[in-house]
Every structure is written in structure tokens, then in C-alpha cells.
Symmetry: C2
Subunit: 267 residues, 2 copies
Amino acid sequence: MEITFIGAGNVAWHLAPALENAGHHVNEVVSRQLSHARQLVSNTLYDARPRSDFNLAQSVSQLFILTVPDDALPDVCARLVLPEGAIVVHTSGTRSLGDLTQLMQVYSDVPVHTGVFYPLQTFSRQQSLLDFEEIPLCIEAADPETESQLVALGQEISSIVYLVDSAERRVLHLAAVFACNFTNHLFAIAKGLTDAHDLEFDLLKPLIRETFRKGMAAADPATVQTGPARRGDQKTIDTHLDMLRHQPRLQAIYDLLTASIRAGEKG
Amino acid sequence: MEITFIGAGNVAWHLAPALENAGHHVNEVVSRQLSHARQLVSNTLYDARPRSDFNLAQSVSQLFILTVPDDALPDVCARLVLPEGAIVVHTSGTRSLGDLTQLMQVYSDVPVHTGVFYPLQTFSRQQSLLDFEEIPLCIEAADPETESQLVALGQEISSIVYLVDSAERRVLHLAAVFACNFTNHLFAIAKGLTDAHDLEFDLLKPLIRETFRKGMAAADPATVQTGPARRGDQKTIDTHLDMLRHQPRLQAIYDLLTASIRAGEKG
């Protein structure tokens, strides 16, 4: 397949070479900032052409992968000119397929096929290229033929390909915010607490590692919950709340999460 | 060293055999419920004697390790009769050394040495025995000689032995509640959210694994924070809050953690 990437950010940085490794050809990388497209091409791709022009009417690609920020999607779609019959997909956890289909209906002069090709992973340019084999790909398409083509493409790079509709993808994304974004912030809070008392954050890492291992190994992480909230150890809870008296938001976070654990709350 | 365990719970289950593996001898295991002491002895120890009697005046042990729940400490100390000159330590993250010293001054008829021998790890009986080599041991003692003895003992089973005073240990424990107990609860919430929509929680595991790996590899987890809060993506945040409208506490947790990330808050 001939493929064009629109956007040269973190997702493109990992997905584009993965598709080339599977035998496809990335033909162009389009970015508003040509230097970004150039950087991606020179670092990870075979002979793609960096461009900053969104008029792709003459492109030989069959698949156009949008890896732009969610907020930029409407503006990018407004500028995009695609060849007739192209498949255009976004890679967003939150944007619905309907959003993209509608934008294309408004802005494209020719009929195109729309879909979603969402890798459920966090990407950053700094790290070495991720192996997609273990990355879940969530696929959705507006028509059955596009769906089969995207599923087939997905299966060439990953062993975990699911059909996930927009409502389901939104739930996965919300769950990921709790399990990943918020979790990382709790690590940052813990680091801040140890820093403030000249203690080494590294002391906590074996415990964090074991917590993570247990939580992932359990059929349900709730069954391996430990700590003062779980034990109903009010004396320790009160001590901790008192230690946080000068940090009202941290105190409120402690209080709410404790109440939530005690209530055995689920999502 | 001849060692007595008082308490036959999760900590004893892992610490007692680790000390025997290092060449020490666990002489007795005392538990209010004799069956608990028996179970620990028969499963993990060489020839310790299970007991339910707290009068240990005739014990040949030099070290008495309290692995009872924090709340039970005063009551256990009130019943405990120790030989003169014994070293008695607790293994708690939250109880101060002063608590134990004071309890002993009140209840012991003979002078004893007090200390803390706190392994910064989460233990459960179900799992296979943990290797203490990588578990940080936080040591504190009321006198220098006891401190040296506890440090020497700690170094025989772990490569990470720190002198940590009671105030510092309390901070470590608070940080651990954020980084471990609360983190596990966020996993449970994510599992609940996927369950409620018949989605597989396993889909999120590669992302959780990568988040954990990145957070632990970074000098400061705050520098690898991602997600809608970090990006200031208010549209996604509003969508997520709306999705949680029937779960007011989860909504409040989402709201607070989002505000905390946006404020770049540290502990």
C-alpha cells in the first residue's frame, strides 16, 4: 500500500516506520511545519517526501493517516484535498468516526472512505521505536470494505486488532486517563513528597513495581487493594490528612480516593 | 541470631524465611491464633515453635520482631513479657519508634532495646516468597549499638538498607499510599469502566505497562506526563466529565486530578 501521513508527531514517528517494516511504502509526510516532516522522514523512513502543502489531489497513496492533534482536525480537514476514493483515517482516542465522516462530507469535493486506526499506546519521539506487535489497534470504518482493509493492515503490524466503535473507544480513552495519566501524576506527587523531605524517590520504586505487577496479574485489581483505606485504619488516614494540611488539593485528593476505596467503588 | 516473630501475618510470612536463608534461626512464632503461627511455621520455617502465649521471659531469642497490625501494637505490647536486654522492633511504616519505646517503658518489667525494621514493600501470603535483595529496609533504633546490629542484619538480606527516622518513614509511607494504594485503585476504576461497557480490560494493559515503564525511567515522572489535562484539551476533559455524570465521586476524582495536573502540582 502507498500511504501518506498527515502530521509528523509522536504517533507518526512510531506508526510510519512500523508500516514500512510490514512492507508498505510511506509516500509522503505532510506537516504544516516542513521541518517536522523532514525530521520524521530523515530519521525513520525510506524515501518519503516531506511536504507542507495539503493539496494531495495528485497523490498516488491509497491511505491517508491523520496523526494531528484532536483540536487541529477540523482545520486540517478543511485544507486537505484528497484523490477520489482515498481512504482517510484518524488515530484519535476521543474523536468519533462520525466527526471525520462529516468533516469530509463538508470539505472534500470528491467521495472518500473514512475510518479510525487507533493504536492504544502512549508514544514519544525520544524513545526508541515501539514494537507494534503488542499494541492493541482499535479499528472502525464507515463501510465494510474499508473496515476489512484496515483490519488486514492492522493485523500485519499487531497481534491485537479489535473492532471498536466510537462510543467504546471513548470509554477506553476515559479508562486510560484514570489508569495511565492519573497514575503517572500520582507518581509525580509521591516524588514531590519525597523530594520535599530529602528522601530518595528510588526507595519507593520496588514497592511501585510490585504494586503494578500485582495489579496487572490479578483478574481484578480491586481484589489486591491494600493500604490504610482498605484496612479502615482511620488513625493512619487522619495522620496522613494532617501531614497534608498545607496542601489543600492533595488533601482533597487523598480524602476522595480514600472514600472511593472504602466504598469499593468501581468505574 | 535467635529470632522470635510476634505476629504471623503477611510480613512475617516473607521476612522470617528470608532471615533463615541468611543463616539466622527463627526460634518461635507467637500469634494470638495458634493456627496462624502453626501455618507459618509448617509452610516456611525450619523448626520454629508455634505459640499463642506472649510470656517470652524464658526465650533464648535476642531479637523479637513485631509484625502485628498497627492498631494491635499497644495491646500486644501490654501482654508481651520479654527477657532482659532483648531487642524488640516493629515493622510498621506509620508507627514511630517513640511509640514502641514508650509502650515498652510502660509495660516491660525489664529494660529492652527498641528499634524499627521496616521493609518498604507490599506482601501477601498467596504469592511465592519475595527476594529481599531488592527490598529497601528502613532501620531506626533508640541506641547506637542496636542500630548497628539492625543495620548489619538488614545488610545480610538486602542491598538497600537506609537509616530512616520516624518522621521520614511517615513521609515515605504517605508517598507510598499515593504511588501504590491509590494507583491500584485507579486500575480498579479503569477495570470497572471497561467492564461496564463489555470491553476487555486487557486492552489497556500495554498502555499501563508503558506508562509505568516511562514513569519509573524518568528522573521525575512529572516530565513524562501526558493526556488531556497536560495538553489543556478542555473539549476532551468536558466530554469525560459528562460521561461520568452519574458517578459523582468518580467525576470529582477526575476533576481534582485534572486540576492538579494542570497546576503542575507536586507533593
